[in-house]
Amino acid sequence: MDFSHTAERISQKITSHGHSVEKSGIEAKLKRLVEEFGVPPAEAERTVLNEFAREYDIPGFQGSGGGGAGDQKALSLLANGEWVTVECKVVALTAAPSPSIAQTGIVADESAAVRFVVWSRANAPVLEEGKWYRLESAVVDQYKGMLNLKVHSGTTIREVSHEGTLKPTITPIKDLAPGVACIRGKVVQEWEATHDRILQSGMFADETGAIRFVIWKEEGRERLNTGGIYTIYYATVDDFNGRLSLTLNTATTVPEEGDIEVNTGNSLFEGAFVHLSPGSGLVRRCPVEGCNRVLSRQNYCPVHEIQPNYHYDLRIKGWLDNGEETREVLIQRGETEGLVGMSLDQAKELAENNPLGMDEVFLRFREALLGRYLSCRGREIDNRLLVSSCELLHYTPDQLADLLNRAGGSL
């Protein structure tokens, strides 16, 4: 790799401040950083320049390396590792999670929105929500698939005036990717908070799909109404263990009139039932309003501890397999009773009158289900199918002739 151009650039900058440096020395430093330590060239330039700036006590251009500011770009075109200049509006500010961060939030332009971070060390002017700024030489990086705009000491910030209003584009839930997005939909479920810091969590759906959401406790944050329709501007879409979820703390939520047809899920999966998971059969559920978690053998709820006044339920958790793909299926009581031919009352009676208790119900379920072909419909989240209707498939000879023809075609 040739460092002479970069070295020349650094050398000129230093020279312009009245100091002289050996170009070959600069080149050697760059080369060492890039080739020996795997530092990206832009970062190496910055490092070397900073080193000289400190050495000669030159204020002002720390960090302004990186091959210049880069061209002005639309936010939708940002890519990881770039130095960019953007014009954008601050659409949300959030509490800085650490003292080394001065401000965090979301900036947007006509094309997209992206999270930004202003380092405390950047000594940048305080950005105000709702105003447009031109950020020169900001750095784009990526964390968990989400792009971030970093404002550091080399970034110049200028407030600019902007004509017209910013119209955010609404993204269908099925097309969401990690980053920042605006969506319109309905709160279809609310879940019990699993952590002290959670204000609300649940499921948000539109015509195309559903996604879990969370609101962390924060001053001025309000809960959403279950069943309510909202337009959510600038929510953060995270990827956690391969599952997407929405964090609404950065977002502006606007209640909407009317109702929308949410995607209740109508995925179909057919296959053989190959595994019945523990926790299937007769289960005891936590009686606390809105909890309904399955209790352990000692009637222990992970959130509400010992609950002697549980209620019984039937369910199936297991795996369907079509030979190419697998789906974990969750089947609730209504469909379960039909599939295994056992009602909740029969299951309770069986458990009470049998030395194995609830395990006996599990064993009966296993004998009734394993190896059977099922057709299940329901809402699919990741690899999991929340079954709303299902049936056993039976041998029908009408495919036989076709298959015989396929097999015998070239005999």
Binding site: G323, Q399, L400, A407, G409
Partner: protein
Amino acid sequence: MTNGNAKGMPGRRDGVFEREPARRVFAQELRESRVHFREGQDEKSPTFVLLPTGARCNRVFFAGTLTEKKKQGEQNMFYRARVVDPTGTFFVMAGSYQPEAMQQIARLEPPCFVAVVGKPNVYQTPDGAVLISIRCESITQVDKDIRDEWVLDCARATLDRIEKSAGTPDGDRARREYTIDPGLFRKMVYEALAQLKI
């Protein structure tokens, strides 16, 4: 900002647990398999048997007739069972590491129709013969209806492999490793189907 998608399956993301699918394979084809390999370096990485029709197979699902079961061993007791499909015999094993499957076999009375989920293993006997046995995860009694349904399912899956595996990495590997033309398994499929009633 694309989702990592190593296996190229639509709509799947990294990090979501994916259970290895159970392949549908007739006894005769499984018996011709020789190549057993491990994907990845880890001791716990899954192992696969390469089927001659060109697909890797970590798990199998089949339905057939349990014709024989035998208890063996004193301290390390285990069951051996034979399950027959229209093309041949599967050798099924359940040992103390598969306690549930062992209890299931213990209750079965041959002959009866069973559905089996298990993992194939390749063994070489001292005299050089290669044996494939299935370590059983579950074995349940079913009726003839399910057996017939499985024959259709397996026939369809086998024909799909014969017709579509060429050009895929596993398909090409199978054609290199095995001298058998996958097309020959059409005859096996035809004969299996011919035993079903229209």
